[in-house]
Symmetry: C2
Subunit: 213 residues, 2 copies
């Protein structure tokens, strides 16, 4: 393995290890020695890549932001189904991916609020953009405003994230499907309602295909 490739692998292993420990134990409790041991690297190697735990937290936040971007960018551009599918993809990822969970979780610490606030802002702005376009395309029902829908979608996804920390069943497909089943008849134009699938449509991701036989 080339030296540079090995360095990239070590750095990634440290980011994942830090995310898992931040997510499980909290930023304050996770120590640099626990993080390097879990990554299977020396403490010297950790210090070569990261000058402090705060630098590691920044790297976790940036990696989480990239993963959120992938969830968003994989979707098409418009329509309510794209939004439904993205919320399911986000919730699935929150269930499986400690980096994404840690990225959002770091936001609850005042000192790190720029990282987490960044993730939340990206998500909220994307949700808003999809709904504004959906309104322009005439696929929303009259009545509720885009703002009402943005508020409900952003609050519900944040709520599933929080509740999922205690009870992973909140991050299964069912609760979000219940929410969309409740919301869609209010939100979608009658002409579109029949075509929408509250439980999400199949959009294979890199992760899903990698785990296929």
């Amino acid at each position: 393995m080339a030296v540079q490739e090995r360095a990239v692998r070590t750095r990634n292993a440290l980011i994942v290890s830090a995310a898992e420990l931040f997510d499980r134990d909290g930023f304050e409790v996770a120590s640099l020695s626990m993080i390097s041991a879990r990554a299977g690297v020396s403490s010297g190697a950790l210090h070569f890549h990261f000058s402090s735990k705060a630098a590691l937290a920044d790297a976790v936040g940036q990696e989480a932001a990239q993963r959120l971007e992938m969830i968003i960018r994989q979707r098409g551009d418009g329509g309510l189904q794209v939004l439904i599918d993205a919320t399911h993809a986000l919730v699935r990822a929150l269930d499986r991916d400690a980096v994404l969970r840690a990225g959002f979780g770091l936001s609850d610490r005042a000192e790190r609020d720029q990282v987490g606030a960044g993730l939340r802002r990206v998500w909220q702005e994307w949700v808003e953009g999809v709904l504004v376009r959906a309104e322009g395309e005439g696929v929303l029902a009259g009545g509720p405003s885009v703002r009402d829908a943005v508020t409900a979608v952003v609050a519900v996804t944040a709520g599933l994230e929080t509740l999922g920390r205690q009870d992973a069943s909140w991050l299964s497909q069912t609760p979000l499907t219940r929410f969309w089943g409740l919301l869609l008849p209010r939100l979608a134009a009658a002409s579109c309602l029949e075509t929408l699938v509250a439980s999400g449509t199949c959009t294979p991701t890199v992760t899903a295909s990698a785990s296929a036989p």
Copy 2:
């Protein structure tokens, strides 16, 4: 002041101080010396009342559970307006009351999950009870199940709590009013819909009347 009364005051001051620091800095960062200093009592007095930080966290969780009970018990017994009003009261309390925020926040720590999980369970079971009764009284629309509505209400209130840690405007009246405005036409029987107020009806609390001129 009688000795016993002073002891109760000291104990309460320590619980509030601990809650404020747990909420602001996190359980791990808040130290017993910071907690006693903020409460204006000696470290000896702290140790007289609480043997450890974990014991203080338990006391914060119990006090938060009592405050949640008050929010719930103050409401009437049935009907959707009671549920709407209770969600507004909870969100208002989360905005103002560090003890309640800390009680829910402690739940995100694995070691304390019984406390926070307890708060969340009490809230969820109460929401479910109100909706089951509402269904029995015929004030729910056909279509959505009680379970759908419980999921949406519990997820949204948890989401507002989480988002409010970064941006207090999520704990203002507006986001929750938007949610109810969106949900009610799906949830309420047509005959009841006109009488329901998405922004909540006035139910003065002890706190509110104490702050009145």
